[in-house]
């Protein structure tokens, strides 16, 4: 008897909740869902996420503090080697930089994106499913709005897609659905940079590069273009690692490596200037 009753009521609840879901989907796809609904969830979740994240970071710091001497010696040696490498790289970059400065002037890019006003934020939660979105602990109250650009370590990591009162959702440039209008900082060729989703957190792909004269080469720097609607010009995306001509021989595509560590993003900067 009892079992039968509970089966009927399960179907009844299912029916009501399916209707509720359909209603929610309809409302939110039309942008009619009141903002307070998301905020309500955020008030419970984000303080807890913030707490856990800071405890985890603190623990990680302690562990690295007590790391034994040997690993520090090893690390020191590695770092020295790396310094030598970087010094060499720096010389090359210096040369490239002079060239870039000229090109920037040519393309009317903002010389220093360091001058944009920024808000520092912590990454407190990540979407562990198909999408590369994460939650930061700053929101409308801190001057954040949708479409603002998000940087980490001097490179573009994404844009704000939803700003709530005290937190925001950021879509990473590694997301499948992320398309960034970019350009080769060395040659000025335009292209589109797309994320690879969960397939890769260290590389992005680019396509439709208008490189008919074949000047672009592996190692070139890709930055956000001056024709993007959302992204401010000249923000670093990464360096070309693969380049091949498309079948039409007019455009080319390939891959680029990102400079940031997307799997361990902790601190980000949100540029509070919107592209006009």
């Amino acid at each position: 008897m009892k079992k039968n009753r509970s089966r009927i009521s399960a179907k009844y609840i299912l029916f009501i909740l399916v209707l509720l879901c359909v209603l929610l989907i309809a409302l939110s796809s039309q942008g009619l869902l009141p903002r307070q609904v998301r905020d309500l969830a955020g008030y419970v979740i984000t303080p807890a996420q913030k707490g856990i994240t800071s405890v985890l970071q603190w623990t990680e710091d302690r562990f690295s503090f007590f790391r034994d001497k040997k690993s520090l010696i090893d690390e020191n040696r590695e770092l020295k080697e790396k310094v030598a490498q970087l010094e060499e790289q720096n010389r090359d970059l210096q040369a490239a930089n002079d060239q870039t400065a000229q090109l920037r002037e040519l393309y009317d890019l903002d010389r220093e994106y360091d001058s944009y006003p920024k808000v520092a934020a912590n990454v407190i939660g990540r979407d562990s499913s198909w999408f590369e979105t994460f939650i930061i602990d700053k929101g409308i109250a801190d001057g954040i709005q949708a479409d603002m650009n998000v940087l980490a370590g001097g490179a573009l990591v994404g844009k704000v897609i939803q700003a709530e009162e005290t937190w925001s959702q950021v879509r990473s440039v590694t997301d499948d659905a992320s398309n960034v209008s970019a350009m080769n900082a060395e040659t000025g060729d335009y292209c589109v940079v797309t994320g690879e989703g969960s397939r890769s957190h260290t590389t992005l792909t680019f396509s439709q590069m208008t490189d008919s004269d074949g000047n672009s080469k592996v190692g070139d720097r890709l930055v956000t273009s001056n024709i993007s609607d959302v992204y401010l010009p000249g923000l670093l995306l990464g360096y070309i690692t693969e380049l091949h001509a498309d079948e039409d021989n007019v455009t080319s595509s390939g891959a680029l490596s990102v400079s940031g560590d997307f799997e361990h993003l902790q601190n980000v900067m949100v540029i509070t200037t919107l592209k006009e």
Partner: protein
């Protein structure tokens, strides 16, 4: 009133574990779906009604925090919880093999549905790339982790059952 409170706390705890531990436990770009294990486990223990209600709230929380369309994951998790609930009529006690079968099937079904509705519809036809790169690794990882969570949830459920028996004086399991 004990059960709803315990369910609510577990739901939030699973959500927090899943969203904050990611950078530390990410393997091959995927992370286990602890929230789904929670929903499917209690659906097996308590039946379809519990499964679908827990699925609805779990999915809804995910939608609110990460989704662009609210109601999508709520609907998906709810249906999975409802389906897993039918197993409660066949199995009563701790049955890890059956549970793993349900977790595996549930996570695969979730992955396939998400691929078809959100990716295939967008013209992303590389099905095998998504299967190898995301759906299968996530299912395997989830199965590995689910053994621990299933056991914990089993103990919690037992505890709740014995509390209820004491209070109401009859078997409610």
């Amino acid at each position: 009133m004990t059960r709803p409170v315990v369910y609510g706390a577990l739901l939030i705890l699973c959500f927090l574990l899943q969203t904050t531990l990611t950078p530390w436990l990410l393997i091959a770009g995927v992370f286990p779906n602890i929230l789904l294990v929670f929903v499917l486990t209690f659906a097996q223990f308590r039946g379809s009604a519990t499964g679908l209600v827990l699925g609805f709230f779990s999915g809804l929380l995910w939608d609110l925090m990460f989704g662009s369309i609210v109601g999508y994951y709520a609907l998906l998790y709810m249906l999975l919880g409802y389906l897993a609930g039918f197993a409660s009529r066949l199995f009563f006690e701790y049955d890890l093999k059956m549970a793993l079968l349900i977790f595996g099937a549930g996570d695969l079904l979730l992955g396939l549905t998400v691929y078809v509705t959100l990716f295939l519809m967008q013209g992303r036809f590389q099905f095998f790339a998504y299967l190898r790169g995301y759906i299968l690794p996530e299912t395997v990882y989830t199965l590995g982790v689910s053994v621990i969570f299933y056991s914990i949830f089993y103990l919690i459920n037992n505890r709740l059952c014995s509390l209820e028996r004491k209070k109401e004086g009859y078997f409610a399991g």
